[in-house]
């Protein structure tokens, strides 16, 4: 996994690429928690370049969400490929996270 922070119309977006597993999820966790530390909201993660995610990746997002909730913030996900979306819905987390189709969606929403 590689990770970039992309500026999209003034909104900072965490953009991981590749496979999120137990080996790479700590790197994602660090970026998300840095945003949480700055009390950023919404905390936006673009998953369009993510091809694989396991339960450690899912756990990382749950942690990020809990962190954001501590200051009334939100965590928003976008760009989920079908196999990625599927594991969120299997985990019953598709209702807990806000899943958007595009960054513009979030800006307008």
């Amino acid at each position: 996994m590689k990770i970039e922070i992309v500026d999209y119309k003034g909104m900072k977006v965490i953009s991981p690429a590749g496979e999120i597993d137990m080996h790479s999820s700590p790197i994602l966790r660090k970026e998300i928690m840095a945003f949480v530390g700055q009390r950023i909201t919404p905390l936006v993660v673009d998953l369009k370049e993510v091809t694989y995610i396991d339960s450690s990746g899912i756990a990382t997002f749950v942690e990020g969400l809990k962190g954001a909730m501590s200051y009334g913030g939100k965590l928003k996900l976008l760009g989920l490929a079908p196999q990625i979306r599927e594991i969120f819905s299997f985990s019953k987390l598709d209702k807990v996270f806000e899943i958007h189709s595009s960054a513009d969606d979030i800006i307008q929403g």
């Binding site: 137990m22 080996h23 339960s55 450690s56 756990a59 749950v62 196999q83 985990s91 987390l93």
Partner: protein, 144 residues
């Protein structure tokens, strides 16, 4: 692998370190292809084997990367059997409980993903030291 009928399986031995999970996924993905699993089922199987190895790393070996995990993968037509061997303390299946999926918290998802992917999830009681998790899946016609 003695010189018997056992030419239907390969064995992958990795250090108990998450860095090697990518190798496991690559090998299991190909094994699913050889066994003629459709892509969605193959995806579930690959994820489940990743989860089983992650659990061994975390719980059986408490992140000691000098331990090893041995995967034995038996490939038949439309059927895959994966044995995950570790040398950690003995566990029983009853001890491995995921969270309720309605309880939103980090963790507790791995066992659910393993049970979703495999028809059989069992520990082999005959093993004398460590654990041997047996995972079996047959291609489901309707999901294909």
């Amino acid at each position: 692998m003695p010189r018997t009928q056992e030419n239907n399986r390969f064995i992958l031995t990795i250090p108990a370190d998450a860095r090697w999970l990518a190798i496991v996924r690559a090998a299991i993905t190909k094994a699913c292809e050889l066994a003629a699993f459709p892509p969605t089922e193959a995806g579930h199987i690959v994820l489940a084997v990743d989860e089983a190895c992650s659990n061994v790393i975390k719980y059986a070996y408490k992140h000691d990367p000098f331990q090893k995990i041995v995967l034995t993968v038996k490939v038949s037509d439309r059927r895959l059997e994966v044995f995950v061997d570790d040398e950690g303390p003995r566990v029983r299946l009853e001890d491995l409980q995921g969270r309720s999926l309605d309880d939103v918290r980090p963790g507790g998802l791995g066992m659910h993903l393993i049970r979703r992917a495999f028809d059989t999830v069992a520990f082999d009681g005959r093993k004398r030291r460590g654990n041997r998790l047996k995972l079996v899946r047959t291609v489901s016609e309707e999901k294909a």
